[in-house]
Amino acid sequence: MKAWHFSENAYPYLPPAEEYESIRVSLPNRIYDPKKGAALYDRYIDEWLVAEDEGVEIMLNEHHQTATCVDPAAPLVLAALARLTKTARLLILGNPVANRRQPVRVAEEMAMVDVLSKGRLECGFVRGVPYEVLPANSNPVRMNERQWEAIDLIIKAWTSHDGPVSHEGQFFHHRNINIWPRPYQQPHPPIWVSTTTPGGAGRVGARGYVQATFLTGYRGTPAIYESYRKGWREAGRGHDVPVHRLAYAALVYAGESEAEARSGAEKLLWYMTANKVPLHFCYPPGYVPTPVHAQILRGAAVDQHAANRANATVDKAIEAGIMFAGTPDQVFRQIKQMYDHVGGFGHLLIMGQAGFLEHDETVRGIKTFAREVYPRLKEAFPDTAVSGVREAPLGARVPA
């Protein structure tokens, strides 16, 4: 198993939530103090460097017009990390390609980072959460179709080496595609796609890309992984789905003592409690399937912020499988329980910083995890294991 330290570069210095309508999309940026923001960038980058020193890989993502993630141009931070790090894999998860007007530009950015990092890029593509369509002015209708056309176009740009090629599709038009540089890794960097629904996962499985799910817990994750494995098999990729094709993201905090772990875990809950967003930003028409949209019009949608706040306790989060927190032993057992429950996954995406989890606390969490949990995970869940073989993971089988 590979572990990845993920930080959203949050800006937590906000007025009380009662004083604003939304932490995303419409929160005035006068609240953002660039001097504090600069210090935060330094700090968050330092934490990624600590992760690398501890043998943990690096992950970052991108959101727009939000205090929850002040990384609206993830490739820029990725480029900085490419120069500041030496060994860690660099996962961007991901490029919101349904919202990027020029997929070829994305292909260029990613190829450049791959070369800068000498082949350490892991390139993720995401459709983007619903709150991203207004900042990007991106049509929420037909986003999936746009995302997949963009991914195909990016791969074409990465893998065409004999002068210009063209693309005249439904959403994107390029007469002359001939990117410089081309990627360092051949034929192209590993591709990741995040999905939180079984429908999306089948398609990712058919392509064989790494499938990541975020905070889908014990309840949501098994169906997503099963759909991935089904898509993989039906596409003729063989019966066995390697665990390294599947990733799971959770809030993770390991402490030397239960008290220390609890304190860190409480602060990580900011991820859930701070996400105050009104319904009309959450469900732009076309983002969800029509039957779901209809039920939302009917009033099925609940105030996620209120629900999250009410449910945001460490115990509930651990019980739901969206948080692994405690002593190293406890964290290992919780991860193992999730691993066994979903049939195995090869990547743990650690949401290891949020809100007011301070620098020293974040670093302690990374180090405790890296030194006392990670080695056990690597031993128990080798990358050679097969996902979906619940009773006898490959690593546990007796050789014939």
């Binding site: 207004l134 209708v141 009309h280 076309g286 029509t290 209809a294 009917r298 009033g299």
Partner: protein, 279 residues
């Protein structure tokens, strides 16, 4: 609202017609000189009682636009221009060599676009709370962003009296609710960017050489009086009128007054033409 309370049963009947690969739902009503009726972004269902009022004097042809109602939405279709072309073919199919055209809201945009394409095919044009042009400054939306506000706020803008909104989402039958959701999605597909307008349209409207009536509800929070005036100024023979105690859906809030205004305009125009022909 007695009209809404008991719509005549036949008013619900529609049939399907295949136009350029689109399965188009058509409501046809009444007899007399033809009127192509182009509904707004909410769909046609709420307009049916109003259509019946118009049908007392006219032959009404009212399609559900592609992606609205029961009409299909092909993958290639994503613009008002596409829908205008569908309507051109519909006019050919139904033998509407010359017709009045009435369009509401986004249907007004389709109607205006259609009128720039084939002005000679139109008798008269009526645009009720139309969108489709951008005449104001770049740093201010001409039309409020209906996709970035709560349902409550939207209803305040759409209705003179929000309490008169006949749509009850909580009790609406599943099938109608599904249509409503899909209508909203198609509206987003068509109007997201550029938002609620085609930058080219205002440079083409001078081609519309038929008498044109612009109508808006006095309390319309979507289409302002200023917007309507600037829109009307782009068409040579246009004038504007207001419906009292109505918002963006005067055909729903004041169906009788709105129908009377529309029919009077078309009659007057017809009469003028007749007398002109005699002289």
């Amino acid at each position: 609202m007695t009209v809404l309370a008991k719509p005549a049963e036949p008013a619900r009947a529609s049939h399907m017609i295949s136009i350029a690969g689109v399965e188009l739902e058509i409501f046809e009503r009444g007899r007399g000189a033809p009127m192509l009726y182009l509904h707004g972004g909410g769909g046609i269902a709420l307009d049916l009682p109003f259509i019946d009022l118009l049908a007392s004097e006219r032959r009404i042809v009212a399609p559900s636009h592609p992606g609205f109602g029961k009409s299909s939405l092909p993958d290639w279709l994503d613009s008002v221009d596409d829908i205008a072309h569908i309507n051109l073919e519909l006019m050919d199919r139904l033998g509407l060599t010359r017709t009045d055209v009435v369009g509401l809201s986004i249907g007004g945009w389709i109607a205006a676009d259609l009128a720039t394409k084939v002005p000679e095919r139109l008798e008269r044009l009526v645009l009720i709370g139309p969108v489709g042009v951008k005449t104001g400054p770049p740093d201010k939306l001409d039309v409020p962003d209906v996709f970035a506000m709560s349902q409550h706020k939207l209803d305040q803008l759409r209705f003179h009296d929000p309490a008169k909104n006949p749509v009850d989402l909580a009790s609406m039958p599943e099938e109608e609710l599904h249509i409503l959701a899909r209508n909203r999605e198609t509206l987003a597909l068509l109007t997201w960017e550029p938002y609620m307008h085609n930058p080219k349209l205002k440079h083409r409207l001078h081609r519309v050489n038929v008498p044109t009536l612009f109508v808006r509800g006095a309390s319309d929070g979507i289409v302002s009086a200023e917007y309507l005036e600037r829109y009307a100024a782009l068409i040579p023979q246009a004038r504007t009128e207001t419906i009292a105690e109505a918002g963006h859906l005067p055909q729903v809030e004041q169906p009788t007054a709105t129908a009377a205004k529309v029919l009077r305009f078309l009659q007057v125009a017809q009469a003028a033409e007749t007398s002109g022909a005699r002289s």
